[in-house]
């Protein structure tokens, strides 16, 4: 089976505000390449400001890359074509509290991507919303609720429902599990793994929790200052971290790893 998502020499740099003759650039992400297959999970770890979130934004299309290409099933994705991209690559944000519009009901929220990207009529859309809500472990009654009536974990589930409702192939989890408490987190992880099996999803997991990374991911990429310092199988890297930064990170979370 070929690669589902191929990333070639992707990089991002920002122009810092300055004078015309004194323009400086801030490189958020050095050129990097990787590929990911269906049913697989790639974890991206790194310290704050290492370019993890920039990578997520580039992949999902919220930012335009400075160089490089993103190929999905061998097809290059246009930088500004959200319609093409959002049906295949979806993202779950870190804080689901702010990503749900407070004045829309759950039904309206989930209806939006369907309305914009599919030709389904209203009945079919409602049916699909019901089905998706059940898939993520919510009730169909929740359709008429507003986001403020849910707890954090439920909001995360709604974000997940919103992500999977278009039947995507890749889902990006940008620290999506960080804000949850351990029991909810493991619930979400099991849910995600179930969905991965059912739908053949590929995940890109951005996290700083090595416990989750080890449990969840097949491949691991370590970013530091916008550069890829290690890339390979998760087990190999965590067993024998080569780079200093990875060693530090593994050491610091060793306690947690030993007691899992």
């Amino acid at each position: 089976m070929g690669a589902l998502l191929q990333v070639l020499e992707l990089s991002k740099s920002y122009k810092l505000p300055g004078h015309w003759f004194n323009q400086r650039e801030c490189i958020a992400l050095e050129p990097l390449s990787f590929e990911i297959k269906a049913h697989k999970t790639l974890a991206v770890i790194g310290e704050a400001g290492s370019g993890k979130s920039t990578l997520a934004k580039l992949l999902v299309g919220a930012e335009i890359p400075s160089t490089g290409k993103i190929k999905l099933n061998g097809q290059t994705l246009n930088a500004e074509n959200f319609k093409q991209r959002c049906q295949h690559i979806r993202m779950i944000f870190q804080d689901s509290g702010t990503t749900l519009n407070p004045s829309l009901t759950i039904k309206q929220l989930l209806d939006e991507p369907l309305k914009l990207n599919t030709n389904l009529n209203e009945r079919n859309r409602t049916q699909l919303i019901r089905k998706t809500l059940q898939k993520v472990g919510l009730l169909t009654d929740h359709m008429n609720f507003y986001p403020h009536m849910f707890s954090g974990g439920q909001k995360q589930r709604i974000s997940l429902a919103r992500a999977i409702i278009l039947n995507p192939q890749v889902i990006i989890l940008d620290e999506a599990l960080a804000s949850l408490d351990p029991s909810l987190r493991s619930q979400m992880i099991n849910l995600l793994l179930d969905l991965q099996q059912q739908m053949g999803l590929a995940y890109i997991l951005i996290s700083h929790n090595l416990g989750i990374v080890r449990h969840f991911s097949d491949d691991l990429m370590v970013l530091s200052n916008g550069q890829v310092v290690e890339y390979g199988k998760t087990i190999d890297i965590l067993k024998k971290p080569k780079h200093k930064f990875t060693q530090k990170m593994v050491m610091s979370q060793k306690f947690q790893l030993l007691h899992k």
Binding site: V60, G61, A62, F82, K83, C86, R90, M91, F93, D95, T98, T99, L100, N101, P102, S103, L104, T105, E112, P113, L116, N117, N144, F145, Y146, H148, M149, R162
Partner: protein, 297 residues
């Protein structure tokens, strides 16, 4: 017949309905809101409700005091003025001029202001700055003075003063819309919606306006109390509504000479202006309070 509630019906209040619940809790604010609705209905239905026409001269009943006075006549409940016109009818007609027109003025400037403001928020750079600030020059001139200038150029009349007030109120709406939309645009749910494939216009109308409508309405109530005062002041100066029209400010200046003989010709329109301004301000204040409360929870 009262409906029997067999099943426990659940209510899902939208954020707007929730703010309304907070709004409703304050008794004083609800009184202001009731007065506001009363004035609004009066402004629409005054031609049907008034006992006399506002121009009708009852020459045998000049300067009749209000009905509670010893010399009062119950057929002229609030007395008559120096030309024998019924004060009650004139005040009621005045509601549609002073209060009703201020409402229309605010609606017009709100529409224009929100339009310009949202375009300004959607664009960037010079275009945005130009749209945001090209009407700011108007803010440097007091609204009354500007209205006087416009009237001096175009000639006195109610229409000209109304345009002047519309012009004065627009920049407030431009600014508040631009800032509110900009604030909302930086929130994550807009990005999420954009990633769903929504274009800017859809995001604006579907995602953002429901969240900022309260702010705009609140600004509108504040603008209306200013508009009422401006219309009345220009009427008082003789620049606004022409003489026979029962505009409250014009009525006030008309009665000024008779203050010692017939004080009701002055204090009644004055009270009417006070009442309408207090009512609109109470509504605005209640809205501000409700907004704050719903944000805190």
């Amino acid at each position: 017949m009262a409906r029997n509630r067999i099943y426990q019906e659940e209510e899902f209040p939208s954020p707007l309905v929730q703010s309304w619940h907070y709004f409703r809790q304050n008794k004083v604010v609800m009184f202001g809101f009731g007065s506001f609705v009363f004035l609004f209905l009066l402004a629409i239905f005054s031609p049907v409700l008034t006992p006399y026409s506002s121009f009708e001269n009852n020459l045998d009943h000049l300067l009749v005091p209000p009905a509670w006075d010893v010399n009062g006549d119950v057929s002229f409940l609030l007395g008559t003025d120096n030309l024998g016109r019924d004060m009650l009818s004139r005040l009621m007609h005045g509601a549609s001029l002073t209060f009703g027109l201020s409402f229309v003025v605010v609606i017009i400037s709100l529409l224009i202001g929100v339009f310009i403001g949202s375009i300004s928020a959607l664009t960037t750079g010079i275009k945005s700055i130009f749209l945001n600030h090209f009407l700011d020059v108007i803010l440097s001139i007091p609204s009354l003075l500007l209205a006087i200038i416009i009237v001096a150029i175009l000639g006195p009349g109610l229409g000209n003063t109304l345009w002047a007030i519309v012009l004065v109120l627009i920049p407030q709406f431009v600014h508040i819309t631009k800032n509110a939309v900009k604030d909302e645009f930086s929130k994550d749910y807009v990005l999420a919606s954009r990633l769903d494939g929504a274009n800017s216009f859809r995001i604006l109308s579907y995602s953002i306006f429901p969240n900022i409508i309260e702010k705009i309405i609140r600004q509108a109530t504040l603008a209306q109390s200013a508009a009422i005062l401006d219309i009345a002041a220009l009427g008082f100066l003789g620049l606004g509504a022409p003489i026979p029209l029962p505009e409250w400010g014009a009525m006030l200046s008309n009665g000024l000479d008779l203050f010692y003989i017939a004080p009701w010709t002055v204090y009644l329109p004055g009270l009417a202006i006070l009442f309408s301004v207090v009512a609109t301000n109470l509504v605005g204040e209640g809205m501000r309070h409700a907004l704050k409360q719903s944000k805190e929870n």
